[in-house]
Amino acid sequence: MARTSTAARPSKQTIPTQDKISIALTVNNVERTLQVSPWTTLLDALRDHLELTGTKKGCDHGQCGACTVLVEGRRIISCLTLAVMKDGAKVTTIEGLAANGALHPLQQAFIDHDAFQCGYCTPGQICSAAGLLAEGKAKTVNEIRELMSGNICRCGAYPNIVAAIQQAMGQTGEKS
């Protein structure tokens, strides 16, 4: 049956991958320089190159929202963003929301309202909610629900997520 051997490497010339490009990102207020291939997404750059694994990969196709981060203060999908295209950008991830050990009001509200179970979608939910607060477009419960619909929570914590966002809105002076 099967035998162990390293697959014989063909002698023909190699197929090149991509030349690395040097980019600078300001991630959570820290300037980082990294060498990435053009095909490396911002998500993989954060997780594999900068070891910021708080940002999650849930589908890698922009369908679940787990990879949501803030770029220049706007929430975006990092799995559909090439890192090279964000050279020079300011990125905020879940690791950058708590200031000096004090939780961001959204983080505290998510704990208070048990707005998660497994926790995997949570960083994306919180970053998305931070973007939502900054946008200032959600005034009603229905608007929060609609504008948070890009973040799937398979544990089904949605009502608690909405309650947590409402709590944080109160704290940040937004109308709920």
Partner: protein, 338 residues
């Protein structure tokens, strides 16, 4: 994803130069659709030309009272732009019906026009698909075609165009401004997207060496009597089964002018000027709306799993026209249909 090259264009002319030298290259702006397709090896560009930093990100009033929207204006910025919200609320509503806020923050106006179909066979390289591999056959015609087209289909392809924004742009008589090696030209929105015919691999009439620079809207109309209604399998963040953009100008109870365009039913945003003509000069009532719907759907053809769309579209058209006539446009946040 294949091992593409990456270059950044310095200006529009530079971008056109890059694409002209490499016909297998692609522009990238928001990337929300292209990167998705590249990860599935559906799109295999030899080179990505990054146009995201070109100065095409402004919304400006034009001398004829319309708007010129830079091709790189993010969908969300466009939706919430004060001039769009106040003068083209149909466009705002349609944009906010699509995707999620994160994706709208990334996706560009020009890129939205170039979205490719959500047909599952197009995405799955293990199955035949004429759009992906011309001549390989259409798996959808006799396959899972619940989300597929009922209008303008061909033997080669029954895919739909997935955009919401484009349905409103079609209704609003937008024009597409493009630049190529031979200079600029303008494409009427109705002529921008194609029907599949026997070349379903071509979604649009944009030439391979052209770049979209702007979308122009004529002077505002239909500010009061409009609605965008999207019908889908869950209440948000799903592609349309059928979506309807309706806009009316009323004089008393009579329709002075009308626009009617559908999404989710064809290979392109489906606008039917014949149906619009049938609305003009008629009383704004159910009989008129139903007649227009019947006219629009006169050649509709269902397949095994999507025949329901014909009747759904018929009801949806009447409903959306009612919303428009009543001045009660559908809210994208409140899920009760008005």
């Amino acid at each position: 994803m294949i091992n593409f090259q990456y270059v950044r264009a310095n200006d529009v002319a530079d971008a056109v130069r890059h694409i002209a030298t490499d016909p297998t290259a692609k522009f990238i702006a928001g990337g929300t659709n292209l990167i998705d397709l590249m990860k599935d090896d559906v799109e295999r560009p030899s080179r990505l030309i990054d146009i995201s930093r070109l100065p095409l990100n402004t919304v400006e009033e034009t001398t004829d009272g319309g708007l010129r929207i830079g091709a790189l204006v993010p969908n969300s910025d466009l939706a919430y732009h004060p001039l769009v919200q106040s003068r083209y609320p149909l466009l705002t509503s349609a944009i906010l019906a699509g995707a999620s806020q994160q994706l709208r923050n990334m996706a560009s106006t020009g890129g939205n026009l170039l979205q490719r179909t959500r047909c599952a066979y197009f995405y799955d390289t293990a199955t035949p698909c004429n759009k992906r591999t011309p001549g390989s056959g259409c798996s959808a015609i006799n396959g899972l075609n619940r989300i597929h087209a009922i209008l303008g289909t061909s033997e080669a392809c029954i895919a739909t165009h997935p955009s919401d924004m484009c349905v409103a742009l079609a209704a609003l008589d937008a024009t597409v401004h493009v630049t190529g090696p031979d200079g600029e030209r303008t494409i009427m929105f109705a002529d921008f997207h194609r029907l599949p015919g026997d070349t379903p691999q071509r979604d649009t009439n944009l030439r391979p060496n052209e770049i979209i620079t702007a979308i122009a809207l004529p002077a505002p109309r239909f500010v009061t009597n409009y609605s965008y209604l999207k019908i889908r399998d869950r209440l948000s963040y799903a592609f349309a089964l059928v979506s309807i953009a309706a806009a009316l100008e009323l004089e008393g109870g009579t329709i002075a002018d009308a626009r009617l365009a559908l999404g989710g039913v064809a290979h392109k945003p489906w606008r039917d000027t014949g149906a619009e003509a049938a609305l003009r000069g008629q009383p704004a009532n159910q009989a008129t709306f139903t007649r227009a719907a019947d006219l629009l759907l006169r050649d509709a053809k269902g397949f095994e799993h999507n025949a329901f769309k014909i009747d759904l579209a018929r009801r949806g058209i009447a409903r959306t026209l009612t919303q428009a006539a009543n001045g009660t446009p559908q809210s994208q946040a409140d899920k009760k249909v008005r």
